[in-house]
Symmetry: C2
Subunit: 253 residues, 2 copies
């Protein structure tokens, strides 16, 4: 039996967009940073539930009815411990516990990460999600497009109207995102402007920021006006920040 970890991710339709999901990017970065051997299984949206059930990965929440289990990726299956783990942060905790070299949560930071995670989700992820939800649909294969487009339309209404290019409401989302990233930048500055938020090596908080940035870069396209705008915020901080993750970005296509 192979001892490789199996990493489950949702594919985009081309090599450039194959890896796009922010939450699964977190785990790719984590695995690459820790130097763990793994292979990727690509799972289309409508098949996530059956794959999770097959390998014994738990649901990570419930559907809108508050009862029906809801299955999401990333998930990993680790043959070394015969364990399936779901939910990005839970996987990061598992990896640190099982493979404690190159900790994703340096000593003393796991509690404060909880606050970072909650606030960053609100001030960065919320506006970013609305800005990239439509271009995200367009990198998916037809079977996942149909699933993602219809479920997100149920949540948000017509996706084409959520953040149309140049609309006033789109600019408002940008302003929110800019404020959230400026606040995030202030936390780096408070730590002495270290390359990563906890110091000289990436921690899971950094990985989470990078996962969101790379998502925007991939679904907008690296040469797009939108990516250029985001990259250049806070004096070009975010483009340079993401560049630091190039060495942890290998995708197992």
């Amino acid at each position: 039996m192979s001892s490789e970890i199996v990493f489950y991710d949702i594919p985009g339709k081309s090599d450039e967009t194959k890896a796009w999901s922010p939450n699964t990017w977190n785990i790719r970065y984590a695995l690459n940073y820790k130097g763990l051997k793994y292979r990727t299984e690509w799972v289309e949206f409508p098949h996530i539930e059956s794959v999770c059930k097959k390998i014994g990965a738990p649901a990570t929440g419930t559907k809108a009815d508050g009862v029906t289990p809801y299955y999401t990726l990333p998930v990993i299956f680790d043959p070394a411990t015969n364990t399936a783990v779901a939910d990005a942060t839970t996987i990061a905790d598992y990896l640190d516990k099982t493979y404690p070299s190159k900790l994703l949560f340096p000593p003393g930071t796991r509690g404060l990460f909880g606050a970072f995670d909650a606030l960053s989700s609100s001030i960065v992820m919320s506006p970013l999600f609305l800005l990239v939800v439509l271009p995200t649909c367009h990198v998916l294969n037809p079977i996942s497009f149909e699933y993602f487009y219809s479920t997100r339309t149920t949540l948000l209404g017509t996706l084409e109207e959520v953040a149309p290019d140049g609309a006033e409401k789109t600019e408002k989302l940008w302003n929110e995102l800019e404020a959230g990233l400026a606040k995030t930048a202030s936390w780096f500055k408070a730590n002495g402007n270290t390359p990563f938020i906890t110091g000289d090596a990436p921690s899971y908080a950094d990985i989470q920021i990078a996962g969101r940035l790379v998502w925007a870069k991939v679904v907008w396209g690296k040469d797009s006006k939108n990516w250029s705008r985001l990259r250049d915020l806070d004096g070009g901080r975010w483009g340079k920040f993401l560049d630091q993750f190039d060495k942890y970005s290998a995708v197992d296509l």
Copy 2:
């Protein structure tokens, strides 16, 4: 010349309530934890500005007009460096830099503390402030009472109506506070339920939580129903948490 740090605090009217302010408690805890020699100068609210100007402590913000400098305590004056420092977190940074033994911000945590600070202010401090603003008035000497009562009334309306005992809106504030503290408790749990949020020793994030708890305990009274309710939340976590600070609680009356 004495090498003692001078610590400026706002007095309450009795020995039991002499030290009441959450933000100045942060610095008392910090000085006591680090074992630094200091003496306390007690300054009534209307005199804060002139004292700050005399020792060269900067304003920490502006008044409602957005222009007039606003002076607050805590402030310290350190004769060893001939420096006046204002604003609790800025003082904590100064103390760590100048007296690096027993760090208030353990390595790698200062960036994440920024997120903790911002979120905790919103989910814990905001509802707590409204619950304790009136009892806070009643621990002050007449000269500070008049100043504090009138400035806070300008902000919030009649203080007696902000959170009257037993009112529906008071219960709503309690629910907010309980949710904020439950979230805070979840961050301790994520760090393995260590005694303090960053581990086995108090960090400035812990001190900030303790400063808020001791404020409520002092202005409500340690035998009050309200303090009993707060202390017992999350399975008695917060009373026990604050007890850990007894050894750093000496007040220079």
